[in-house]
Amino acid sequence: MTDLELENWRREWRVKTEPVPDLKRKIHRQNLRMAAAVLTISLCLTLSTVAAVRRHSSFMGGMAVGIGVTSLLVGGYAWWVRRGAWKPTAQTTLAYAELSYKRAIARVRTLRFAFYFLLTATVLFTGYVAWNWKHFEGRSGAIVTFMVIELFVFRYLGRRKKQEIEEMKKLIEEVRE
């Protein structure tokens, strides 16, 4: 193998390059997603709180408390499990790979926590609805359905993250080689 070969590869590698796509699109989309998430949680919390106060509705009050407690608990847990995974220990490829690995594990733990938390809430709420079946309302059924769908979503996301962790392990081994 000669340096001439390397030079040829270099020439072929550098010939004709696609332009980098517009970054503004990406930032805009990312901001929108973040804003939508914050807005949805805030809106649910505000609406249920206002409705609870105005109508003296225990149902809406319960929902407001539920959303608030869930956000605090899951958010707090997510923050707690991510300790030590805020920044890389060094500016190296290996350190970044390890950081991504730690973060992926933190996300899996958060998803698992959210899943079991929601599962408990679903069981309790379904029990409550069944106990008061004489006063059954459509919205209670809709909430149970929504909770069950969310459980499946958490399960699916958890599996995807586990795949990510496997990929990470392979990558770390490759980089350590």
Partner: protein, 174 residues
């Protein structure tokens, strides 16, 4: 009127993208075969640079800083990517618009050679792929060592092995 910090940052970012944009685009090629996903990766890399730029204190050269961020972002991308996104035996991308050159056969041949090289690089283990791509971008061993956080002798060893692996991969694709 005094230029605000944000304007300065934007100017700096734009000049970086002007200078390194093509290299970053090629780097995305090394990590992702699928066109749409590659565009997304290139945007992610640019975004990571934009976010990291205010924290750059000049501890290393700007070039090293940019490549380090880009490679680390691409690394995260590989782990997040779902396997079905990029099967190794995926068919080559359709030929891109061809630049004006004397003979169509030559153009096809050049495109074929380039695609073969890109495909061979994509198939290398990450540790080799990074060293090869940075070498092809004309970074010195010292700069590569700084980007990847390894020693210069380690770079040389990896490069030797990577060259052999790349040569074999190219021959397999003949």
């Amino acid at each position: 009127m005094r230029e605000s910090g944000r304007d300065k940052l934007e100017d700096r970012f734009n000049s970086i993208m002007g200078e390194y944009g093509p290299a970053l685009s090629r780097l995305a090629w090394g990590y992702e075969k699928v066109t749409n996903v590659r565009e997304e990766l290139a945007q992610d890399i640019a975004l990571a640079i934009w976010q990291a730029l205010p924290h750059f204190r000049g501890e290393c050269s700007e070039r090293t800083f940019i490549y380090r961020i880009a490679h680390n972002r691409a690394l995260t991308h590989i782990c997040k990517r779902q396997p079905h996104h990029q099967p190794l035996d995926e068919l080559a991308q359709p030929l891109e618009p061809i630049d004006p050159r004397p003979h169509p056969d030559e153009q096809v041949e050049a495109t074929y050679r380039r695609d073969r090289l890109r495909s061979a690089i994509q198939g290398l283990p990450v540790a080799y792929r990074q060293v090869v791509m940075l070498t092809l971008e004309e970074l010195s061993h010292a700069e590569i060592a700084e980007v990847l956080g390894i020693t210069e002798s380690n770079v040389a060893v990896r490069m030797n092995r990577a060259k052999k692996a790349l040569k074999e991969a190219m021959e397999e694709r003949l």
